[in-house]
Symmetry: none
Amino acid sequence: MHEVEPTIQDSIMAVYDQLPPGERKLADTTLSRLNDLASYSATELAVSAKVSKATAVRFFRRIGYQSFGQVRRQARAEAYLASPLYALAGVNPKERATDALSNHVATDIRNLTETFQHQKAKHFDQAVSLIATAPQVRVIGMRNGHFVAQHAAYLLAQLRNNVASLPGSSMTLAEDLASLNKGDVLLVVDFRRRATLLPTVVNAARGANVNLVFISGPGMSALSRPGDIVLQCLTEGASVFDSYVAAVSIVNYLATSVAKQLGKHSRKRLEVIEALHESLEDLRP
Amino acid sequence: MHEVEPTIQDSIMAVYDQLPPGERKLADTTLSRLNDLASYSATELAVSAKVSKATAVRFFRRIGYQSFGQVRRQARAEAYLASPLYALAGVNPKERATDALSNHVATDIRNLTETFQHQKAKHFDQAVSLIATAPQVRVIGMRNGHFVAQHAAYLLAQLRNNVASLPGSSMTLAEDLASLNKGDVLLVVDFRRRATLLPTVVNAARGANVNLVFISGPGMSALSRPGDIVLQCLTEGASVFDSYVAAVSIVNYLATSVAKQLGKHSRKRLEVIEALHESLEDLRP
DNA sequence: ATCGCCATGAAACTTTAGTTTCATGGCGCA
DNA sequence: TGCGCCATGAAACTAAAGTTTCATGGCGAT
């Protein structure tokens, strides 16, 4: 019978929930680099986790290694074993991945890269400006698009006031729409399998001179008119379901860009929200 | 127009046949380790090529780098880009990401690849089986995780009966939980900034012997216990916000796998739903 | 309020990696 | 043979990484 040595991941997990905050940050950055851990120095890890070198030493000692050198040696040994996808996909780039998993990942990566490659910078910047400066921002998405819309609303609400996703509650859509004015932004997430409700909403918004920003799938959103701002995302799925990975990514980037445009202002807001949460004891560290 | 930087391999090849014997030995060992070059020190390379450290320095300088530090940095970047998945996505490894946008995309691609690389196939398969066969499936996620949970519920609901996301409506959480029995599955989406409610829910579920499946960020979900099924996703963001791209991707793959396990059964269900939608005129083509 | 515990980072310190200098020796060539 | 060139490694040196020590500050218990 012989002991199976724990992997670095195992070692970290074993103590993860007893780690103090600083060391936990380090644990997270370490875990996120598990693949090529051996190519980082302890100092680099410490810097990127925003803790001191001393904390790094304590951390690696706590998870059971005498020195960082040991960690590096083991990391290198593990990297050698731990790349199933490498094996599956073949080292030769010309060999195509054949199994479902590699295929899935490859499809999503392609969705990401192509979506951003084809994005028009002009549209994107316009969308950012509008969202940053509009008196009110509303987000709507049905079915497949609903969760993307929710995500967008959640992120944007951390950056500015007057962000909400529609419909607020089940039967208030009409009221919600009525409160939109010229200069406001309606972010419409519009993918395949659209509900019939959506065109109605869009028309109402158009009537009120609301600025429309679309996040839509490949093939122009039938709801948009020339002149509207449209951010197109690839949604190709490797199998039965469409993939909304690119849409989620673009929402993140959109919110990030808005944050940058708002600058200090929104950073302040993020802090206020953080403080509120703290005092509400609503979150855990 | 901008110069394409040569890869390390290019740099070596360019001067290979003018190299003196010692440096050539070093060139050979370097080339043979190109894929994880960054994890070796110059000293190690020198030792394994049986030349002195001084020769190593001369060699790396001759191929065009000021210091070994530069070599290491570039090696790391190349190793990362040389992954077969990048090749599949058609990304040109020689193009460097420098601006915010490229950085964003690169981060998300990294999140995807690493998330799937570190996934334990065993956990994943268990999750799929449980979800495919459980009498009831419930999904819960708060804050950052909420939209991911919604997406999961939406996809799974297309494949099988008795899928719902919690809380169904604002005040029914207790009732919802009470209706869970042994053998049911609770899919918990648990990311940073967790609401305090979540631990309560999880404990209740544990009390009822419900099977728990976690989708969580890097660093083990503090809610999970050894033995639980945990699917970990990287959530590293390129800027202010964490990225949930990998989580969305894994949800898609999870649902896809459930679909495959259910086979005809779920295909039938998809058709039924489609027919329902058609007759409700709820969708547009 | 005071005490004690612990996490933490700054800075001193040690060790290791990387670089430079220099002496040696091989090799071609006059 | 003697000269110059250059590759090379040993060793001195410098820079960077890793480790230790220590002072601070937060936090809970007394």
